[in-house]
Symmetry: C3
Subunit: 353 residues, 3 copies
């Protein structure tokens, strides 16, 4: 990333007070171990102390506590929360790189009954159906399909290639990733004599504010009611959210996880990559589910869970430890069994005694 | 979902005989616990009896056996199969909401050698290659890509953003989900000296009638012959079907499952979410495979299988139960071993005795 | 696949010397058990000997060692590496079926600052942003989105519906599958008081030469630096590659596997389907990871690994065998424990004695 930031400007962006006579300009931002004399780097985790000791960065933004690890010659700025400082700088740079002002690409196809805010940007080839509402400063990439009756709140970003199906409601400041399908038809059938009859899904998807949905993730619409993704939820790539699922506020779901139909996930859950939750269960608030775990029953106590079937993490670790020991214990058990286990003749003898 | 259905019309749609003097109009359809006085609700599972007892629905369609759970004041219609009644009503409403008659959006791009039935509907920006055949009443969404030589049977729906690659054959009344890739290049190589050489796949995908394929699911084309999805198969979102796989009639495959190359799945199998089947194996008819299971060998007996590696469900449950007990048994085994296991000095003493 | 190849032409394509007076023409290529008298079949694996003995193929390309399994009447060509011969023939046929010469579909939308080689082919509806460079003989399907600043090397194929996001660099002779998202925004946040703040990702994706990426696979861009896919890597469908991952040369990754952020995979690794690697770890060169395995720690020794958590394959197999035995051993352990384990009263008695 090529940038051009003076020291004073940088301080103002990341929220550091003070005047800097030395108004050097930095032209890049890079990890500690890749940064050169014109680059800004960030140092906020003790485990990067080795990289910090050897950094050639022109400027390091860090905390007072960590600054001691830096070479004396390295210019540093101390921030009470250097990771937050990094988040601010990245946001500033990302926003600066974006084109400003409303614009609709001439190849976009927009039904006349839809209302598009003047400050919205619509990319090439994007298709917008009937009765769609697009809010202020919404940014829609290329080749997005937005079907009839969709509403998208202000400052939301829909990346290139996403499909937003009929009746979906998306809040403010969301990000819907490339290739994501929001409002896909649900997987519901009735089975009669070994044949499946499709249940047409008349519900929709409702997404709150500040939600992120990753690339190629699918969120199915509800059968009758809605599939609901509450405020602040973050969903990674290739995740499957089935019909009528509810995901509670500020829950994070890692890549390739799947949530089956009608399951309710609590607030502030963290669901690991490739984990699966079966249908028609619930998790309470503040649950962490390990990667690749399979949750087959409702979880009613906050805490960490892991494994298939998922159990509290400590139980899982004890179980794994026991399984590791088992390999050595099997021959011992067998020799003990051979020595002591009552055999038919032994039993006979016992009874005779 | 807003609707406007009179009682007599409703009876005719779901298949209930009789005259209804009270021709009230219902304006919604909702779950038992969300329905209000103008809504229709369905009650077909005993586990919803509590919701039924408290429902405020204007009308409940249920069975004679379940009707007793409803409050006396609630209007009800008894149907021999109320779930089937629901399926019929949902289908009726979904069909009513669709635009009727053939139409090709002016932004669609269709090669001149292709034949499109007059009753087919083609969405905005959709691209159709050479020598494609689109049957009667086929409905194709926006931004679909249909490559050369594809044939699509009557009344099939291809949702927005799907890609149907060269030579694919799709039957009647199918649904191909948004973002699904049908006929993707297979993952086949020859390896020589640690390098892979691509095998160009010249086969195709053949899909029967009444098949559903979920959003962002991938079905690879065959290397020489075809990858085959037989009649009535239902596939959920984000599923991977590799080259030369055959999926038998009326099999259902839940989200994020994967079937590796050349594997043959029998008829009426049910494959759970995130399950995986290795390549070059087969399953017989009427096999159920649990979620997240890993099937590494052919299955020749109908029944339920679970786990990685997958074994008959009962064996898997016994194995899990034993593993749960193991944690308590390990210290017992160790104390027994300590008490009885021959140690070097014991052995010596034994020999001396 | 319909073809028309004479015997001499065929020999020249697959690399067999010699003159063939019998210049028959073959019109198809099929598996041994499906091939008819006008078809070419290949026989290179001993496990297909039964199919070979019954083949009705007009011509079989095989090795000297395997030829004995063929019926005497079947015409055969012996090749030192018949699988390589098949790869050559498939490539020849695939290349012959392709349209030749540069062409840009009139519905494609290309920003004026981009440079497109004259020999490149660009499909219908494809969108190309600013400052993109498309090399010689690049082939881009329909409805592809190529965002600003992307560079694509010569002879690379981008299949219909793929999205190549800002700043991605792709080498020569690659294949990017339909629906794949290259350069998707990474899943990185800082968490403060149970809320997530997005980290804008300013890095990109760098893909080497001869890389294949499957359908609907996602490769996230780096936070600051790049996510790197080195030369010769082959990635199947629906795979997730997170931000700042590095995949070493000639590694193969099967469908639905996932690699979490900042993990470095060595050269010539083979990662099975649905396997997962946690973030911030590494694997050395020449590691094989079984399907559905979960790798939670760095792997520093070449070899085969399996299970969740992944351990060397032999350990995993012993562990599974012990678990299978456990079911029978539990009652034995319990009876031994009952017989010998000291109980409170026993202990008392012991002490009194």
């Amino acid at each position: 990333m090529n940038i051009a930031l003076g020291l004073s400007e940088l301080c103002s962006i990341v929220g550091i007070d003070g005047v800097h006579a030395d108004d050097r300009t930095f032209t890049g931002i890079a990890p500690l171990d890749h940064a050169g004399p014109d680059d800004i780097a960030f140092f906020f985790r003790p485990e990067f102390a080795a990289a910090a000791r050897n950094t050639r960065a022109g400027l390091v933004i860090t905390s007072t506590a960590l600054a001691e690890h830096l070479p004396a010659a390295v210019l540093r700025l101390c921030h009470p929360d250097p990771e937050e400082a990094m988040a601010r700088l990245l946001e500033y740079l990302a926003m600066s790189a974006k084109p400003q002002g409303g614009a609709i690409h001439h190849t976009a196809s927009i039904a006349p009954s839809s209302t598009i805010a003047k400050s919205a940007r619509i990319g090439a080839g994007t298709v917008i159906g009937e009765h769609v509402h697009i809010g202020d400063e919404v940014e829609i990439g290329a080749h997005v399909v937005i079907e009839d009756g969709v509403a998208i709140g202000e400052r939301t970003v829909i990346e290139s290639g996403a499909v937003i199906r009929t009746g979906t409601v998306i809040g403010k400041r969301c990000r819907i990733g490339s290739g994501a399908i929001i409002g896909s038809e649900g997987f519901g059938f009735i089975e009669r004599n070994g044949r499946y009859r499709h249940l047409y899904h008349l519900g929709n998807v409702i997404i709150g504010d500040d939600v992120e949905v990753g690339a190629n993730t699918c969120v199915d619409r509800g059968l009758l009611g809605a599939t609901v993704i509450e405020d602040g939820v973050k969903i990674d790539n290739l995740v499957h959210i089935a019909h009528n699922v509810v995901i509670g506020e500020h829950t994070a779901i890692a890549a390739q996880a799947g949530i089956a139909g009608s399951t309710h996930v609590g607030k502030r859950n963290r669901i690991g990559g490739q984990a699966g939750l079966t249908g028609h269960i619930s998790t309470c608030d503040d649950v962490t589910i390990g990667a690749q775990s399979g949750v087959s029953k409702s979880i009613t106590q906050p805490g960490e869970y892991s494994g298939t079937p998922a159990v509290p993490l400590q139980r899982r670790l004890r179980s794994e430890a026991a399984l590791r020991q088992l390999v050595e214990l099997v021959p011992i058990i067998e020799s003990l069994a051979h020595k002591f286990a009552p055999k038919p003749t032994d039993q006979l003898r016992d009874e005779q005694e």
